[in-house]
């Protein structure tokens, strides 16, 4: 019996080794059409500058170029960035305040005209300084940018107000499509309903709520790419539809992410015909307290609720049923700026001894006169992972005698409740694209400086600590500054609870090659390096 098991394991190991060897050396094959599922009903518009949803990126990124990006062959790196339209990554000058990008001269728009530095400069000006009547969703990311200039017809220069490590990651944002200046000048909103870029695929057709199609761009500037003849994205917001499409090989991949149960089911049924890639996800749920409602204005109550939650015990169990896994603080766990486990364990909500933690929680509630605390937890009507996280939290709070009723509402009313402050405690989310801790942690600032922070508290100390961290360019000092800001946010003031970070599981038919997972479902979606091993 043991011998058979051993032989089987050895055989499996050998097979994996054999399979892995040639895979690394495989030469991409050209041709074929990639059919992929988009986990949405349709994008609100095609304009990347305006939208914030992955539905827009998954549908339109293959048609556009960007200035810089995460490396397509190593998108899980949180610190590396490479050129797309520039010729080489610039070194900062002027004390870290000036970045000059040389623009490629071999790039053509899909209409055949030449892409110039003027197009790049104009697109970025509209992203950073949107003219009246247009919307740029990420203006706050570029608060450090003072000027965007075009000193010659091959260069675009960014001048910053202060040096910061947040700039390059912000510049690599996947929504920052380069648009044609001539079109923008005629109609600034043309790109909301139309597509014309310089990316690896040319737009072919779009059926609302059905599919979007593209064909290979023969003039693409990254030579040899794209490998595919065409792409077709199929919209399906129901998970069961997407799983069935993959199971039946009606689609080859779904890029957003699936829950562990879907992975287990597909792997069990399709075996080696499906391949799984997984990664920590730069998204997470945050518990926010309405500081304007009693007793959540009392830090003892907030700390007690943090202390009641067993993050270390809950995360591994939840990872079996929900799209969450890694315990983290306010910084994405894969980043150099993230807290280590030992550092986390110094803060409320992360103590290694959960019984001691809960005893302290009960003491604090008693001290605050809230031993029989009852409240309503507002949550979003989305199973993965919102409702799982909400149900888990309610169970944890019950262990210190707190009674919580979960109020689940659709996405619209969920945002309304958060923005209007009509909640006791809410399961909020913080989902970012490029891992850029300096900007990503702005979510924990007071509402007056970060409108998407819903706790509605005033905390000058928090702003002071954040600004110090943001403008620090020495990595070690910046890390220390980040720890101080984090401790103040999660421990001293206990403004919220960061629940285990999401975990991204991407399923594909095993013939899909070239695409690599990243910590964000927004990244690495131009599909230029994808090929089909058929």
């Amino acid at each position: 019996m043991y011998l058979r098991t051993g032989l089987w394991a050895a055989g499996l190991g050998l097979a994996v080794a054999i399979a892995a060897g040639p895979a690394n050396a495989q030469t991409p094959k050209k041709g074929g059409t990639l059919i992929y599922m988009i986990a949405a009903d349709s994008p609100p518009s095609f304009d990347g500058h305006r939208e914030t949803t992955f539905a827009t990126v998954h549908a339109t990124a293959p048609f556009y170029s960007v200035l810089i990006r995460v490396p397509p062959d190593n998108p899980s790196s949180t610190t590396d960035f490479v050129c797309d339209l520039c010729t080489e990554m610039p070194k900062a000058t002027d004390g870290g305040k000036t970045y000059a990008f040389k623009i490629r001269q071999d790039v053509k728009w899909h209409d055949g005209s030449k892409l110039t530095a003027a197009d790049v400069a104009e697109s970025w000006k509209r992203i950073v300084f949107p003219p009246q009547g247009t919307t740029s969703a990420r203006v706050s990311y570029y608060a450090m940018v003072d000027k965007i200039e075009m000193p010659d017809d091959q260069t675009v220069t960014f001048k910053l107000k202060y040096p910061t490590t947040a700039f390059l990651p912000a510049l690599a944002d996947p929504f920052t499509y380069i648009y044609k200046k001539e079109i923008l000048e005629k109609d600034p909103r043309w790109y909301e309903k139309n597509i014309m870029g310089s990316g690896p695929f040319k737009f072919a057709s779009y059926d609302i709520g059905q599919s979007i199609k593209g064909v290979r761009n023969p003039d693409y500037y990254h030579k040899g790419q794209p490998y595919l003849d065409g792409i077709e994205g199929i919209f399906a917001d129901k998970q069961s539809v997407r799983v069935e499409a993959l199971r039946g090989d009606r689609a080859a991949i779904e890029f957003r992410g699936m829950p562990p149960s879907a992975r287990d089911q597909l792997v069990k049924e399709a075996g080696k015909d499906v391949a799984v890639q997984d990664s920590d996800w730069n998204c997470g749920n945050i518990v926010s307290y309405n500081h304007k409602r009693k007793p959540f204005d009392d830090v003892r109550v907030r700390r007690a609720l943090s202390l009641a939650v067993d993050q270390w015990g809950g995360a591994p169990a939840l990872s079996k049923i929900a799209t969450v896994r890694t315990v983290g603080g306010i910084v994405f766990p894969g980043s150099p700026l993230a807290a280590t486990k030992e550092e986390l364990q110094q803060m409320a909500g992360y103590w290694p001894d959960i019984e001691k933690s809960r005893a302290e929680a009960r003491r604090l509630l008693k001290e605050a006169g809230q031993e029989n605390l009852k409240f309503e937890l507002t949550n979003r009507n989305v199973d993965q992972p919102y409702k799982f996280v909400g149900t888990w939290l309610i169970g944890e709070w019950k262990k210190i005698g707190v009674t919580v009723e979960q109020k689940v509402v659709p996405t619209g009313p969920w945002f309304q409740a958060m923005r209007g402050g009509t909640f006791d405690v809410v399961v909020d989310a913080n989902c970012q694209s490029v891992v850029n801790p300096v900007l990503d942690t702005g979510k924990y600032l007071p509402k007056k400086v970060y409108p998407e922070s819903y706790g509605d508290y005033d905390d000058p100390k928090s702003i002071e600590l954040y600004n110090k961290m943001t403008q620090e360019t020495d990595p070690a000092k910046q890390r220390a500054a980040m720890r101080a800001y984090e401790k103040h946010t999660l421990d001293t003031e206990a403004h919220g609870i960061v629940t285990p970070y999401w975990y991204r599981i991407v399923m594909a038919r095993s013939y899909v090659k070239g695409w690599k997972i990243s910590p964000s479902h927004y990244l690495n979606q131009d599909l230029a390096n994808v090929w089909l091993d058929k």
Partner: protein, 302 residues
């Protein structure tokens, strides 16, 4: 024909030969003999009530307590019906879930039925433009299937036990009102209603004291059907994520959490709540049918 005899020793008259007056036990035994399926339904309903009332005694575990050491365990002696994805004991959740089902089922059925009863009788009594307008309103409401109207109400008022009761109550009102009105139209023509009016009684007294009691037969039958419908509607709303919310134990919610994702890997998560819903609705329907047969004079002696 009865024969009255004299007792030989005491001289007293006895009525031994007279048919014995029926007791409640006789009526119950008669019901059991004539309506075996209805009796089965009644037993299921009684079991549900007992389970709900004694939930804290019968349930071996806290129905809301997550136990990550026992996630998705198959039925065993420790967990009779297995555990769900959060490690919660399914038997305990089913037992407590009976409370939610009965609370929502009976509250919605009684509220919807009573409001429909009063409005239906009033509509028949007043007639004229009131009846015309009221019936057109009922037409509009009845144009929507129960679950669609309940969904609309929940989307306006939100989720939660009270709102679910409200959402199911509203669609039941016109269904009751329409049936009761038909019976009340016949009652309205009976002379005692004219007599009550001639005596100067007010409208509310005539409707509530003289007409409503006379349409109570069909109303009771309708009520039993409504309880089953309401339980099913609650389960449907919870299954769609619009009913009661986690971690409250509710059968439809248990089905929602398990049916889609774990149907193949942990089927007990979906099977047992599904069976509970089927048994409850079946029991109430069987009892309702039997009640109709027992009350309806045309069917009584069949």
């Amino acid at each position: 024909m009865s024969i009255i005899t004299r007792n030989e020793s005491t001289g007293a008259l006895t009525d031994d030969a007279l048919p014995r007056k029926k007791t409640a036990l006789d009526a119950a035994l008669n019901f059991i003999r004539r309506q075996p399926l209805g009796t089965a339904g009644l037993v299921i309903m009684i079991l549900m009530f007992v389970t709900a009332a004694l939930a804290n005694v019968l349930a071996p575990f806290d129905p809301e307590e997550n136990d990550f050491q026992a996630m998705m365990q198959a039925p065993s002696w420790i967990h009779l019906l297995g555990t769900d994805q959060m490690g919660r004991d399914i038997f305990s959740r089913l037992v407590y879930g009976a409370r939610t089902a009965l609370l929502v089922g009976f509250s919605a059925a009684f509220a919807g039925g009573l409001i429909g009863l009063v409005l239906g009788v009033a509509s028949a009594y007043f007639g004229g433009w009131f009846d015309l307008v009221f019936q057109r309103i009922l037409d509009v409401l009845m144009a929507f299937p129960l679950i669609i109207l309940a969904l609309a109400v929940v989307s306006v008022f939100g989720t939660g036990v009270f709102n679910v009761i409200l959402a199911i109550t509203i669609p039941l009102i016109p269904r009751c009102g329409r049936v009761v009105r038909a019976s009340a139209l016949a009652v309205r023509e009976i002379p005692y209603v004219d007599a009550a009016r001639a005596l100067g009684f007010g409208h509310s007294r005539i409707v509530l004291r003289h007409m409503v009691p006379n349409v109570v037969g069909p109303f009771l039958i309708l009520l039993s059907a409504f309880v089953g419908q309401a339980i099913l509607a609650e389960a449907s709303l919870s299954y769609l994520g619009l009913g009661v919310q986690e971690p409250v134990p509710a059968w439809g919610l248990m089905l929602q959490g398990g049916a889609e994702e774990y149907a193949t890997t942990a089927p007990w998560i979906a099977i047992f709540p599904g069976l509970a819903i089927v048994m409850a609705v079946l029991g109430i329907s069987l009892f309702g049918d039997a009640l109709r047969d027992a009350i309806d004079p045309k069917l009584r002696d069949r």
